[in-house]
């Protein structure tokens, strides 16, 4: 465990990598949920129009 910590301390680019991946995952999930919500609104409007 200590060795792993030291490895990341000396190769901090992997920390940057992990952070960027987490941010990308967050943005991706946000896009998924917003897209889903938009589809629901579209459906509701279609029902209202009928």
């Amino acid at each position: 465990m200590n060795g792993l910590f030291e490895f990341f301390e000396q190769n901090s680019i992997y920390i940057v990598l992990a952070i960027t991946l987490i941010i990308w995952t967050g943005i991706f999930l946000f896009l998924l949920s917003t897209d889903k919500r938009l589809k629901e609104i579209e459906k509701e409007i279609k029902e209202m129009e009928q």
Partner: protein, 236 residues
């Protein structure tokens, strides 16, 4: 529905791979394995910007192209739906042009020494920002829907004519600091400059991932514009 999840899953994996490769793959003088990038003199570690900065400019070009295509379709059919599609493309194109300018500027500070140089590449993207910025000013100045759509369609066609010149031609025939300009001794098309096969492959994967991301963002923007239009017509 299923195909929907399929391409979104592909996008997630592709972009994750591009992030991993683009950030973590080391740059060495003599690449010997598939995950090593070659050292490009003058760029060194900063060469990795190509995986994230160039795709933003690429998306801007695609978006402006699509804005023109839907503009032409609007002029042919007079369907306001096409105007919404064109507007969605314009909005995303504008955003990515700004992103390309900002990322390039940050990179320039550490490669060339200052945030802004009026290098041919910087000048041309600045002019593009002005051209497309005034399109939004034009749109907001016209109240009548059909008139606005018609003006916007014609403007987006005329302004796209300048895009190939400003993005692909002018920065390459003029001398400048940006990689790929006329006095760059690694010149030729920017894509080929001293990248090895792996680096090119990851660059193209990055372009693909960003293009799918663009399509997703575009379809969401388009949907929201349509919804807003419908609601404002219903209740006013």
């Amino acid at each position: 529905m299923k195909i929907d999840y399929f391409w979104k899953g592909i996008l997630f994996l592709l972009m994750s791979f591009v992030i991993i490769a683009g950030i973590a793959f080391p740059i060495v003088a003599q690449p010997s394995t598939w995950y090593e990038f070659p050292l490009i003199p003058g760029l060194e570690e900063k060469a990795k910007i190509i995986f994230f900065h160039v795709p933003t400019a690429w998306i801007a070009v695609i978006a402006f192209l699509m804005a023109m295509v839907y503009g032409i379709q609007y002029l042919r059919k007079g369907d306001l739906d096409n105007d919404a599609k064109s507007l969605a493309a314009l909005q995303i194109g504008m955003m990515f042009t700004i992103l390309a300018t900002i990322t390039g500027s940050v990179w320039a500070k550490f490669t060339w020494g200052a945030f802004w140089h009026w290098d041919p590449r910087e000048t041309s993207i600045f002019i593009l920002l002005l051209i497309y910025g005034s399109l939004f000013a034009l749109r907001s100045a016209v109240e009548n829907e059909d008139k606005r759509a018609k003006l916007s369609a014609v403007y987006s066609i005329i302004s796209f004519l300048t895009v190939p010149f400003f993005i692909f031609i002018m920065p390459r025939i003029m001398t400048g600091l940006h990689p790929g300009s006329a006095n760059d001794d690694t010149s030729g098309p920017v894509v080929n400059f001293k990248m090895n096969g792996n680096m090119q492959l990851i660059f193209y994967l990055s372009l693909t991932a960003f293009t799918i991301l663009y399509y997703w963002m575009w379809s969401m923007t388009y949907k929201s514009i349509i919804i807003k239009d419908k609601l404002s017509k219903k209740y006013i």
